[in-house]
Symmetry: C2
Subunit: 413 residues, 2 copies
């Protein structure tokens, strides 16, 4: 019978074998005393198995609160556990409760992080994954051999629909490929969602009719499910191509329901991610996280950016981009969305480390605050990526491209 | 204009005022350079405000990875921030992205936890909260002046529907009020959901016809939204009274959609909770967490238990129970679900510290592994609660009640 495999990074004052057995028990048949009905056949078929243990370093202090044993230090390890697919069938929430459920409560651990998981072929065939992903996103706005260049409407909250549409026009005229609502912008008192879609899509459609280029706008549809559906349909009606969902805030079941429809590119915003990932020994790592949302069908996944303004390391960002580009379910790979303090200066390093232009490269202030104006801001980003692929350094690129040189002067630290 | 208030427990190597201002900026208009359109009027209306700062202790080491400043230690503080309701309207996911979004990424913090939040009257009137809550849950199974006594089907996964129904019959005959699926049990290869509902509800309905007592069974409907709806309708068709949702795995929008229907009591299982809460300076505390799910309409909320088998402290459990019992939205309060290693011996301490019997008290092995059988197991739990309300200690209760005495002998550590 096919099995699902999960890999955890754990820390425990107990023998790792013993702690891992508690995890496997808790996540398949656990109660604190054995009960009638827990037969050998049942265990063989449905019990979780500890497949592998790789011991790592030993530390003096526990990483998170848990049991201590007098005189015992804390052993870190990688532990691989597996479950038969008979345990859940095709039910993503129950799969998540199995991979990421009560195991975080187990007192035998002083650290536990889900690093990665894998599903068997039947799962990979059952879930079609992103409908659009990299290929569909790029094709939709006519981008070929470079990253999509995108930006976020700022200030996030507060502009009227007309002010927003005017800004969209500026950005489109400047040559942008993609624009998104901020995750804080849903439907505010002075910018109702419907009005915003109406005036923004008018600008985008007019430009598309004139030039053939349909700029992608990710309207933030995050809401209760019926409202999300209504907003999704409204975007379709106005010939929009994309909707954004704050996936952690909306949740898995409602996000999948929207993705399943397959008419709009779904831009997955991971705000709240730090809560799930920031501690090195608690939560979930991105390679596992992005797989959950690929199973749900999200087309574009935020991955932060090199030299970002947040806390995340470049290594983590690189690993995140790479994980999106690895095949998983049949069909498309999701488009990694690079953002946070990006202005183009990070392009050479991003390309050097990932060797890909299959990205949506998002710059906020980097475009609108460009000293020569927004058009030069977009040009500077395209120049930065051309230079990156050509193997130029930031300094070499600045010598060659005046718009990018102006970015360097203004934004480089 | 009404405002929403949130309280964070933070840690930072910067001046707290400065770090708090970054948080407020990031969560209302933030970009790393100021952009055109960010007018004073707009800021006044939509910017988040730092309302209060209370400095706490200073520590030498950062709690989670973030910026450091040479020579600077890490100041902890309570910070209160507020937003105008104009920023989101009645949109729970956007509210969550505001309270719990990118702020966890801010490098100026080396710790950040959402402790509590409050919404204004318009919100409290808009969201009707739990349809059943404490009163409706207890009334449904005819319990008045004691906690509901419940148990979980164990082994969690692996029994056939018929084996499960036989166990349900044993438990009902023993006098139980409430039974639930384990969160790992959705629809397994040998126990399809529909079959399970069919045979279990037959047992429950027969008992109800004979005795007038309708035992509440929380079938785990956690799944994709259409499947959840189908399962919800199936339970209704079989005259069941309750459905369980793994709220973290299913997510907010789909959970609210189910709660809004108001025909079944919704049992909210918080598996995955440790990931969100276990670190003292990352994530969310239960008083804030339960408010989110009350806004969604969840009727019963897991709160762990005193002297539980997991890592959580008794203080935290007590605080969680108390937070459920505090009025919030208009209407019902959610029923706190006490579980994890409970066998009745914790009843006196639970009552002493919370002074309430408005609980669903869940015991697994404590009932089925009772040395005198399941009926005695249920009796022992009722005895434990009678004793607790009468102010008896565990020892005094054991002298008075033989079934409880047998529990003490078997389960007390």
């Amino acid at each position: 019978m096919e099995r699902i495999f999960a890999e955890y990074y754990i820390e425990t004052p107990y023998e790792v074998e013993q702690a891992a057995a508690v995890l496997a028990g808790e996540q398949s048949s656990g109660t604190f005393v054995s009960v009638p009905g827990e037969t050998a056949e049942l265990k063989e078929r449905f019990a979780a198995r500890v497949e592998n243990i790789e011991k790592l370093d030993i530390v003096d202090e526990p990483s998170i609160p848990g049991n201590s044993i007098p005189g015992k230090k804390y052993q870190r390890a990688r532990v691989q556990v597996s479950w038969s697919i008979e345990n859940f069938g095709y039910n993503l929430p129950v799969l998540i409760s199995t991979l990421q459920g009560n195991l975080y409560e187990i007192s035998q651990f002083t650290g536990l992080k889900l690093m990665d998981f894998d599903v068997p072929d039947s799962f990979k065939n059952h879930y079609r994954g992103p409908q659009f992903g990299i290929k569909g996103s790029k094709a939709s706005c006519g981008v070929t051999d470079r990253p999509m260049i995108g930006t976020i409407i700022k200030p996030s909250v507060g502009m009227s629909p007309e002010e927003t549409a005017a800004l969209v026009k500026t950005l489109i005229d400047a040559g942008i490929d993609f624009i998104k609502d901020d995750e804080l912008m849903g439907s505010t008192a002075n910018s109702l969602f419907d009005n915003r879609v109406n005036v923004i899509m008018k600008v985008i459609n007019e430009h598309a009719q004139k030039t053939g280029k349909k700029v992608m706008y990710a309207f933030n549809i995050s809401d209760e499910i019926d409202q999300m559906q209504r907003k999704y349909d409204l975007i379709k009606k106005h010939e929009g191509t994309c909707a954004m969902i704050s996936i952690n805030s909306v949740g898995l079941s409602a996000t999948k329901k929207i993705c399943d429809q397959g008419d709009l590119v779904i831009h997955g915003h991971r705000n709240g991610w730090g809560m799930l990932n920031r501690h090195p020994l608690l939560g979930i790592e991105f390679p596992a996280y992005q797989k959950i949302w690929r199973l749900a069908g999200v087309d574009q996944m935020h991955v932060n950016g090199i030299q970002n303004k947040f806390w995340e390391s470049d290594d983590s960002v690189v690993k995140s981009i790479q994980s999106c580009l690895k095949p998983f379910v049949c069909g498309n790979n999701p488009l990694p969305v690079v953002s946070s303090g990006q202005w183009g200066g990070q392009a050479p390093e991003t390309y050097r480390r990932t060797q890909t232009t299959d990205l949506l490269y998002m710059a906020g202030g980097g475009i609108l605050a460009h000293p020569m104006g927004a058009t030069s801001g977009v040009n500077a980003l395209q120049q930065a990526w051309k230079a990156a692929v050509d193997g130029l350094s930031v300094e070499e690129a600045a010598l060659q491209y005046p718009e990018f040189a102006a970015s360097v002067k203004k934004f480089a630290k």
